[in-house]
């Protein structure tokens, strides 16, 4: 059996055991919802026939926060990474500061952000950037630094100009590491946004998840959690496609 097939069989097996466990044992339906019912709830929520209020407007809040935060994470992160790799002085001066900031679990700063910036979308976007940006910066700088110097001297001896070397030698050589950073940064940004929404509840998928868990609507809770996780999985899949296309 091929590994992919075995993996699918494994997942299916877990779902079957889960279904049987929730249907044929005396475990409370508040704790565990059977997968078939969760799937049914997902269909109802997505087709707006379920009991979940304003699904699409809340989904949009989360997506808007995610897109705004990721736009900043990606552009600012790559820019700072370029600065660090481009100037040894800037890199040596500021990289230790960033390493220390990276080592702080950002979550502990979230109460401060809420205190200063309030409870709207803005503090959540700021928090998403704070969680996501470091890995983008470090990977961009590392990717640019590991470009073989011989490639550059070869290009120069072939008469390439500065910009041409940059765009047709440096960028392609650094692309795999930069893209890996952008992919990881995306995962961290989602983590930041969802964490922020779950800790200060007012809108978004975090609000819906909190609503379902507060009211003990367990099947809806499972369905909403799976929908939220899907955003991460889909985003990650998009990056895999990009990586396969751009990296050889």
């Amino acid at each position: 059996m091929s590994p992919a097939l075995a993996r699918m069989a494994l997942v299916l097996g877990v779902l079957l055991v889960w279904e049987a466990f929730s249907r044929f044992t005396s475990v409370s339906p508040i704790l565990i919802a059977p997968p078939s019912e969760v799937l049914w709830q997902i269909v109802r929520i997505v087709s707006t026939h379920g009991s979940v209020p304003d699904f699409y407007s809340n989904l949009w809040v989360t997506l808007a926060e995610l897109l705004a935060a990721y736009a900043v994470t990606a552009s600012l992160g790559v820019l700072v990474g370029f600065l660090f790799a481009g100037s040894k002085l800037i890199g040596d001066a500021f990289e230790p500061v960033l390493l220390v900031l990276y080592a702080i679990p950002k979550i502990i700063l979230y109460p401060l952000i809420v205190l200063v910036l309030g409870i709207g979308m803005f503090p959540k976007i700021v928090f998403g950037v704070m969680v996501g940006i470091f890995v983008v910066i470090f990977n961009t700088a590392a990717g640019l630094r590991q470009v073989e110097p011989t490639y550059i001297s070869l290009a120069r001896s072939l008469g390439y100009g500065k910009w041409k070397i940059f765009f047709s030698v440096v960028i392609p050589a650094a692309a795999p590491t930069i893209l890996a950073g952008l992919r990881l940064g995306f995962g961290y940004t989602i983590l930041g946004i969802i964490t922020a929404e779950l800790l200060v509840v007012n809108a978004g998928l975090g609000f819906l998840i909190d609503w379902a868990s507060f009211n003990y609507y367990t099947p809806q809770l499972y369905a909403l959690i799976i929908i939220t996780l899907c955003i991460g999985v889909i985003g990650n899949g998009l990056f895999s496609v990009l990586e396969r296309r751009w990296v050889r």
């Binding site: 001066a93 109460p111 939220t228």
Partner: protein
């Protein structure tokens, strides 16, 4: 000034500038002191806050240690078992990578549902946070072992145990220790998330209470204290990870 010290000078100047900016934004009322405590006030409250924080700190560090150690141990045992055959590696690796990439915090309401608003939830969630980055690194580390070297060790008369301790384990050690670093980071994050969400135990609860009651200077002091301790833990692991990978350079 010798150029060797120039980065340090720039860094120091930058930090001093930030503290000055922080101070003047309170002093000149750019930000209300209800929301931002001045550096001087924060420093004044630091000793007293540290004293109040000690029992909370103890609770957090205990939960973190239990979560981190059990997550790493479980990941190491399962990871070694999975990496014994190339087939199980191929079956499990994509699932485990998925476990790292999905935002597990979404599952937090379920954990509260299953384990209650108790310390168990903190430990289970922290353990899960540490587990995935660690097991992916254990599996990645197994690829670092060169089959030729294992064959060579066997040929030179090493038994199974000696081959493991002298060849296999040293080859895996660099990736294993960087796995520990990521697992530690994730476990700290996990423990604080649950502590903030439950606001019943540990530093997370203390920080939450201070923020809710607008004891701003104490809040900043408590956050600084937590940040300093977590940075110390992370840096120790980072240097350990570097130390163990030095032999191959």
């Amino acid at each position: 000034m010798p150029t060797k010290h120039l980065p340090l000078a720039i860094r120091t100047a930058f930090i001093v500038l930030l503290v000055l900016l922080w101070d003047s934004s309170v002093r000149f009322g750019w930000i209300d002191s209800l929301f931002l405590a001045s550096p001087v006030h924060t420093a004044e409250k630091f000793a007293a806050t540290t004293r109040t924080a000690l029992p909370h700190l103890y609770a957090t560090l205990t939960a973190f240690t239990v979560a981190f150690v059990s997550g790493v141990l479980l990941a190491t045992v399962l990871g070694f078992a999975i990496s014994l055959s190339g087939y199980t590696y191929k079956v499990f690796m994509p699932l485990l990578v998925l476990g790292v990439t999905i935002p597990k915090v979404t599952l937090l309401p379920l954990f509260v549902l299953w384990f209650g608003i108790e310390k168990t939830t903190i430990i289970v969630y922290g353990m899960l946070s540490a587990f995935f980055p660690m097991i992916v690194n254990v599996l990645a580390a197994s690829l670092e072992v060169k089959p030729n070297q294992v064959v060579l060790a066997r040929a030179m008369g090493c038994g199974k145990v000696r081959t493991f301790t002298k060849v296999i384990f040293p080859a895996m050690l660099p990736v294993l220790s960087s796995g520990c670093f990521y697992a530690c980071n994730a476990a700290l994050m996990g423990v604080f998330i649950v502590e903030l969400a439950l606001s019943r135990f540990g530093m997370g609860a203390l920080v939450h209470d201070l923020a809710m009651t607008f004891r701003t200077a104490e809040l900043y002091a408590a956050v600084l204290l937590t940040a300093a301790i977590t940075v110390a833990i992370n840096m120790a692991l980072w240097y350990a990870a570097r130390h163990f990978s030095r032999w191959r350079a």
